[in-house]
Amino acid sequence: MSNYIPTIGVEVHVELKTKTKIFSNSTNGYGQMANSLTNVIDLGYPGTLPTLNEEVINLGIKAATILNCKIRKVMHFDRKNYFYPDNPKNYQITQARTPIGYDGYVEINVNGESKKIYIEEMHIEEDTCKSAHRGTKTLLDFNRAGVPLIEIVTKPCISSGEEVKLYLEKLRELLSYGEISDCKIEEGSMRADVNVSIRKNETDPFGTKAEIKNIGSISNAKLGVEKEIERQTKLYDNGETFKPQTRRFDDKIGDTVLMRIKETGNDYRYFPEPDIPFVVLTDEMINNVVETLPMLPDERRKKYQELGISELNANKLVANRPLSDYMNTLLTEKTNHKIASNLLLGDISAYLNRTEKDIKETTLTKERFLELISLLEKETLTSKNLKDILDTVMESDTSIKDIIKEKGIENITDDTEIRNVIKEIISNNPDSVNDYHNGHDRAIKYLMGQVMKETKGKANPKLAMDILTEELN
């Protein structure tokens, strides 16, 4: 097979996390009884008119900000006219001419190198109703009709299935972090359509496009693109051509299959929606919204690594939003962030998983956590002992010092106390001391054993060894 250059563009629809629909005040919900979340507006009843949900505009501003887009301050909506049973008014209200965001980018990391995926535009629109095919009938459920969507369109600047996967993962992470969308592909709250074409040389015109729809997961997006590149390559290699077409990814066979050949020029008869006046955004409105954005993943990763946390742990933290938010409360604290991250991702994660709790539901206040870190750092508490007391730490208000005392597992870290014990042991075991000086390694181990025995195992082992070596010499 020859090598071709793929050109890939991605269109992603995400459902916005609002309480109500974009143009009506019925509930935006998932998984409810069919046709139980609608009103006359969602059904496109004669005489109804749209209103515009403020939160949709706010989330649009947030998404545009996160995706590094410019924000349009004066925008209007357009009608996209097409007949389809899932389209209640037989027009969809969208933003064809004045998308809320444009000229943005998302950074992905391809084999250790950063690449910008450019966003052409992102616009607000309404979702269609859900249809299910049953034999000779199609059943319509209007619960989804009018759910707010943002459609994000990249420039055709993606060059592999792997990049598509990285882009979608990044987008999902960003939009979830921004609390813009749940981005659950399996529930349809994030949907991706991918346009794929290939050509021989950079200077050639773009090849014929195939659009892949109905992609059920990010890994399928990658696979679908790779299969499509393969398919197109074979066709061209055999001297064949194909018509612009829509394909869908079939889970069962792990490949794309033809849905339909695209008819030339869908005539959507766009025109400005006369029922919705201009939406005008002021700097103040935009700033007020942007201020409520949480710290984004990349910034978190960077901050964590600056504080000495490993790249691996930084990524793990970011992947766990509640823990990452918890970690963020410690960013300016003088503490050992490395220990903090190890604890959060290790014992604490295990505890939270086991008890199915959110960290906010535990008694681990920031102050208690800082105390815990400091005890571990001074080795007053060993990590082995931590396991014994963790449940109590997470579930009671008793101070951590008291918990340790109660359990009797306090490490002796008092220099003088250990030194006194060691001095006594040295004077009581002259033979072993002699052996040590004669180069017998076993002697020091024996002496250490005596120290631990005398302190009932509470002496900090590292400290004890240091003092013992010092006293012996």
């Binding site: 069919a34 609608t38 199609t138």
Partner: protein
């Protein structure tokens, strides 16, 4: 210029509007639609337009609605005027291709 639309032109706009036409109607609309189109062509006599979008109303901008849920219909009401329904669903003859839009 012939003062009627071609058969194809009439069928094209009828397709856009999703209206089936009889042969007789096609002939009639070839003439009638042309008359209307000749009339709207007069807009070309007016100068001065820079592709700016204007939405007519007296207040300059849209008032946004707070994101608070209101009353909804129950499924029974949804089906009340629907010619065909099954269970809680509104029914249509099977649709084969995928949606064109969103």
């Amino acid at each position: 210029m012939k003062d009627e639309l071609s058969r194809e032109e009439v069928l094209h706009v009828a397709e856009l509007a999703r209206i089936s036409l009889t042969e007789e109607e096609i002939k009639k609309y070839q003439v009638e639609l042309k008359k209307l189109l000749n009339e709207v062509e007069k807009i070309n006599d007016v100068e001065g337009y820079d592709d700016e979008i204007l939405i007519a109303n007296w207040d300059s901008n849209a008032e946004l609605r707070k994101d608070i849920a209101g009353d909804m219909l129950n499924p029974k009401e949804v089906l009340e005027n629907a010619p065909r329904h099954a269970g809680n669903y509104i029914e249509v003859p099977v649709v084969i291709s995928d949606g064109e839009g969103a």
